[in-house]
Each structure stands twice: as C-alpha cells, then as structure tokens.
C-alpha cells in the first residue's frame, strides 16, 4: 500500500515538473489566436469573398497542422456580411467585443470597408481590409490597418501606363458607370492623364450600369478619334454591351481597364466570342501566365499544393485564394517575429520594413508612413479572353 502511494506521488511529481518545464504557450491550454474574417459570402458581391475564404481557411489549416502560431491554434471567426455595410459594422463590433478577435481581415469590398474602418480603428485591432479605395489606408486615421492587396491608384497607373507606353496611344477615351466607384475612377484617370502631358482626352463619359444600349456613347467616342478606351465599371452587363457595340461599329479600339472586363460573367453576354479580343483587364504578374502559358514557378507550386489539398481553383480567381493565404501567413510571421499578438507590437513589427514574400504579394513591405504593401510593378494588364484555371495570360508588351 505504501509502495503504491509512493508510485502515485512520483507520477504526480513528474507530471508537475513536466508542466512547469514546458513553456506556457506550448501547453494545450494556450488560447487560440482569433482572427475575425468579415466577408460577403452570399449575395451579389460574394464571388471574391468565396475565393478569399478558401485561401484563408487553407492557410489556417496548414499552420494549425504544423503547430500553430507560437503554439496557438488559429481560429477563424467568420461573419457573412452579404455585402451590406451595416451588417459588416455590426459583425465587426460583435467579433471585437464578444469574440475578442485580435486581428480582422476584410470586409471584402470597398463600400463595406469604408464603413468598418473607423469602427475597427477605434478598438485598435490590427486589420487587413480588402478593398481598392485609396482612403481605406491612412496611417493617421487608421494606424493599425494594413493592405495586402493593391489600391485603386495602382490599378489606374497600370492601366494608363499600358495605354500610353505599350499601346502608344496619344488620344484616350475614358468611360465608366455612374456609380460612385465608376465616377471616381473616370475622374482619377482624367487627372492622371492630364498630369502626364502630351496626351489628349478625346472622350469622357459615364453611363448607367443598366443602360440597355450604348451604341450612341461608343459612336461619340469613335468619332472623337480615341485610340484606346479606358473602361471603369465592375458591371459585367455594361462591359459586355460596350464590347458588343464596339464590334457592331467595326471599331477595333483596345479596351483597357477594370478586372471585370475579363470576368467569366462577361463571356456568355458577348454576341460573338471574338468581341473579347483586344480587351485588357488589370491583373497581377505573379498570378499571370507568361507567353509560354506557364505561371511563375512559385505560383505553379502553390497551385499544385492547394489543389492537392482539395481547394477548388477552377471557379475562382487564383489571386483571391493567394490573397487569403498571404494575409494569414503575414499575420503568423508578424506575430512570431514580434513574439506577441498585441496590437502595438504587431504594428511596430509590420512597420519595421521587413519584406514579406508571399505567393500573391511577392514582396510586401510597410513603413510607418506607408501601409500599402502591394508592389506596383506587379500590377500588370492581362488578356481578358485568356482565363483558365483561375488565372489570365499577361498582356503583350511586358516581355518575359
């Protein structure tokens, strides 16, 4: 009996020693690293969110399988905002106050981000909004916000550089829809072109996204002598109407502009498949096929890895999935480098200027005065009619 009691005491002592010896963060009781994920997963604006969701969940799973972040499992706290800014704000407040998330990612469009950014900033939670509107990132107003994706100015610069330097156009037409985004983008293009000098804007127009016929608008643009049409609308219907009208006018002017010019929803709306020729949409160099039809080596490896893990890529954009993966990986790397998930430590570490080499954001770097991480050189034009396996072919003129 005495022997048995001694054995039990020895075992208990050994367990106690083991528990004390192992660092606290490696114990199973380590709290999870909660990351709030605000995404439009249903509704009209849900397509990007669904793609990004796959990347975020894949990355979190992989990291958790490998032991987590300093022993803490990543827990994705997800809320479907349905593209509604009010729902996004409520969801952000709920996940910050009730779920105590330490980071937020999203929302997944600019309209929602404009609503949530001030709210999230008030609670000093490091956030990674996914939207292109430039004002979403402001180191004074939103000091804990960092963008992994590009901003609108980068899209604009890429589009206008292509029109002027590759297509060598001197007379530019600009057309967009009458939404806030469309109008803002048309005006920004006009400003940037005027600043360039040596270029004339021969046509500038805004049409309603649901306008049934755009022949008159394109005739006007044609008669103005435009050599390139810069197109800013995220409406697949309007984009296809513009391409169909261009074909009816037998006017083979290049269309250069918004990513939706190459969206899958455009294809069935075209009167003829060839109406999609000579159309170039904004894309990303790491996620584009080269002239030989190959992705960059790192991206190809990524495709193989995520596909073998069962992540669907054929019905989404590769860069959406890559953005999700990169954001989670960036959070992991930053927390580990800072040895802390506290907001001020994370901010300090991100602003230290260390370059993060992701699959989509291949050289992501921030500074105290710049919280936009995406490299402008990687924003390139794609051939709109070249979509396959989640990616596009790079437009002619970029070389290898």
């Amino acid at each position: 009996m005495k022997m048995k009691a001694m054995c039990i005491a020895a075992v208990l002592a050994a367990v106690s020693v083991a528990l004390v010896a192992v660092p606290a963060w490696t114990q199973s009781s380590a709290p999870p690293l909660k990351i709030g994920w605000l995404a439009a997963l249903t509704g009209p604006n849900s397509t990007p969110g669904i793609g990004q969701d796959r990347g975020i969940r894949y990355a979190a799973d992989q990291i958790n399988k490998a032991g987590g972040v300093m022993g803490r499992k990543i827990e994705i706290v997800s809320r479907d905002t349905q593209g509604d800014p009010t729902k996004a704000v409520n969801a952000a407040l709920e996940m910050i106050n009730n779920d105590k998330v330490e980071f937020t990612i999203g929302p997944t469009n600019s309209g929602e981000c404009l609503a949530t950014q001030p709210v999230i900033a008030r609670y000093k939670v490091p956030s990674f909004p996914i939207g292109v509107v430039d004002s979403l990132i402001d180191t004074v107003k939103f000091p804990y916000s960092f963008r992994v994706s590009n901003n609108n100015t980068q899209w604009q610069e890429s589009v206008l550089n292509y029109a002027l330097k590759v297509l060598k156009a001197k007379k530019i037409g600009i057309i967009g829809d009458t939404t806030g985004y469309g109008t803002m983008s048309v005006n920004l293009s006009e400003q940037l072109l005027k600043a360039q000098g040596g270029v004339s804007i021969t046509y500038k127009g805004e049409v309603e996204a649901n306008q049934t016929d755009v022949m008159a608008d394109l005739r006007k643009a044609q008669s103005s002598g435009a050599e390139v049409m810069v197109v800013w609308t995220d409406s697949a219907g309007l984009n296809s109407r513009l391409m169909n009208a261009r074909a009816e006018l037998n006017w083979n002017v290049p269309f250069v502009g918004h990513p939706v010019l190459g969206a899958g929803a455009v294809k069935p709306l075209l009167a003829k498949p060839e109406n999609w020729k000579n159309v170039f949409n904004v894309g990303y160099r790491p996620m584009s096929f080269d002239d030989n039809g190959k992705l960059p080596e790192k991206s190809q490896k990524f495709v193989e890895t995520v596909s073998s893990a069962g992540v669907k890529l054929d019905d989404t954009m590769l860069w959406w999935v890559g953005l999700g993966v990169d954001t989670i990986q960036l959070i992991k790397d930053t927390v580990e480098a800072a040895k802390s998930s506290k907001a001020d430590d994370v901010k300090r570490m991100l602003e230290a200027g260390k370059t993060f080499n992701g699959v989509y954001c291949t050289s992501c770097a921030y500074s105290p005065t710049n919280h936009n991480g995406y490299p402008t050189d990687d924003v390139v034009m794609n051939r709109a009619d070249s979509f396959r396996a989640g990616a596009y072919a790079i437009a002619p003129g970029y070389g290898k």
Binding site: G205, A216, L269
Partner: protein, 285 residues
C-alpha cells in the same frame, strides 16, 4: 447619331410603355397602383432566357412558358397582395403588400437564377445594326399589345365588362358582373403584357434579376405623365421617356439622366396634374 439615339430610345420606350400598360390594366379594375409590373418584365426576360436558352425548348413553347409564369404571378399578386387590402383601399396598404410581392419574386429569382446578368437568346435572328430585331421587336410587341387591348375593350363582351368594373365596381356588381373574376383576369392579363415587355425586349435588357426594380420605376413615369389609366398616355409617355433618356445620356451625360428625367416628369405634373391624357374624376363629397 440622331438616328442611333432615336432607334435605341424608341426601343426602350416601347418596353416602358408596355410596363405602363400593365400598370393600367391592374389599376383599371382594382384602383390599386401595384409595384409588380417591373417584376413581370423581369419574369418575361429571365424565364424566356431559361426556357429557350437553357432548356432549349422551341421558341413558341418558351414564349408560352414565360408568359404562363407571369400570368400565374399576376394571379398570385391579386390573390395575396391586392384582394385582402381592397376593403381598406383608402389606407393605401397595397403599397406594402404589392411591394412585398415584388421583393419576394425578386429574391426567389436571385437565389435560383443567380445575381449576374445572363444572355437572352436571339429570337429570330432578323436584321443587323440599327435594323436588328432587338430594336424593333419591342416596338412591334408594344403596338400589338396596345391595339389588342383597344379591340378587346371595344369589341368583346369581356372588354365591356372590364370597362364597367373600371367605371364603377359596385354598379357593375349590381348588374350581375362578377367584379372579382374580372379583377383576377385583369391581373393575369397584366402579367402577360408585363412579361411581353421583358421577353420582346430581352435582347436589350438581358436576363437579370434586378431588372424588375428599374422597370417598375421607369414604367411608372409614362403613366404618371400620360395620365394613370390611359393606355394612350402610357404609349406616348413611354416613347417620350425612352428618347429623353437616350438624348440626355448623349448630350448631358449618364450621371444626369435621372435628373433630366425627373425634372421633365415634375414639370409635366405641375402643369398637368392628372397627366397629359388623364381625365377628371368626380369625387363624392
């Protein structure tokens, strides 16, 4: 350029006019301004595209199928959204009930059909450029609907019964006319005409779940300008609106289309409060 504006304006104006006729058809027998005619146009476009483009049924069968869905929806509207509130029509509860019926069908279609616009098939493949069928089919359909309604009202017993109920439902009931049945038929007929607008204009509109809101909005302007209850007013108001929109878009820019449209709309209503073809109605005091 003027020809392009006119052709496109007349085509879209014909669609608005047909939606206006649908409004009038419902209003005539119930005195209810229903919010559903635009959704009927959406049904014509979406179900036309589904039957002909997706299921690949013959054109005539696809047409009947799309019209059939809209007729059933018209019947549903009368049964669920109009009949229960007619007893207290002065309270304008139909604003809520018909709006609810409109939102309901829009959401159902969005879930089933998807939220991206989808193509509407070419119906006959006639004409090209500005002579393309997509421009003249809605115009032909609009005139056929207008003439058909005129003949129906003037030459048939059912038409006479419609006019009787429209003039005075109580008196017509005293004469043995089943006003409820007439009202049901009028909502079904309105379903047909509204869906005809979406089907014949489908190549311009595309098969898109959100069409309903736009058509409800712009389809109401012609009848308000032309005089509610007046088919002639709807016809002229529709064409006027279509051409005005195209011209405003071209000359002053797309951002100002709504401003110009409503400036003209308000001006007309200030000058002629009952609309261009509206008639004064005696009111019991």
């Amino acid at each position: 350029m003027l020809v392009t504006i006119l052709v496109a304006g007349i085509a879209i104006g014909a669609i608005y006019a047909m939606i206006g006729l649908s409004y009038n058809m419902m209003y005539s027998t119930s005195k209810v301004v229903s919010f559903t005619p635009g959704q009927l146009g959406m049904i014509g476009a979406v179900f036309g595209a589904w039957f002909i483009g997706v299921l690949e049924v013959p054109l005539w069968l696809g047409f009947l199928g799309a019209m059939g869905v809209a007729v059933v929806y018209g019947f549903f509207t009368e049964l669920v959204a109009v009949r229960p509130v007619l007893k207290s029509i002065e309270q304008h509860l139909y604003v809520l009930t018909t709006l609810a019926a409109a939102l309901m069908i829009q959401q159902v279609v969005a879930i089933w059909w998807g939220t991206d616009p989808r193509p509407f098939p070419t119906l006959f493949g006639l004409g090209a450029g500005l002579a393309s069928e997509k421009y003249w089919l809605p115009v032909v359909a609009c005139f056929l609907a207008f003439i058909g309604l005129e003949l129906f009202y003037r030459k048939t017993l059912w038409g006479a019964a419609f006019i009787a109920v429209a003039e005075d439902a109580e008196a017509s009931r005293a004469l043995g006319i089943l006003d409820v049945r007439i009202r049901v038929v009028s909502y079904c007929l309105a379903g047909f005409i509204g869906a005809l607008a979406g089907f014949m204009g489908g190549q311009l509109l595309l098969a898109f779940f959100a069409l309903g809101a736009t058509l409800t909005f712009y389809g109401f302007v012609p009848i308000a300008m032309g005089g509610i209850g007046s088919n002639r007013g709807a016809l002229i108001g529709g064409f006027f609106l279509g051409i005005l929109q195209q011209a405003a878009n071209y000359f002053v820019g797309g951002v100002f289309v709504g401003v110009v449209t409503f400036a003209v709309f308000i001006t007309v209503l200030l000058l002629v409060p009952r609309g261009l073809f509206g008639s004064a109605v005696a009111r019991r005091v």
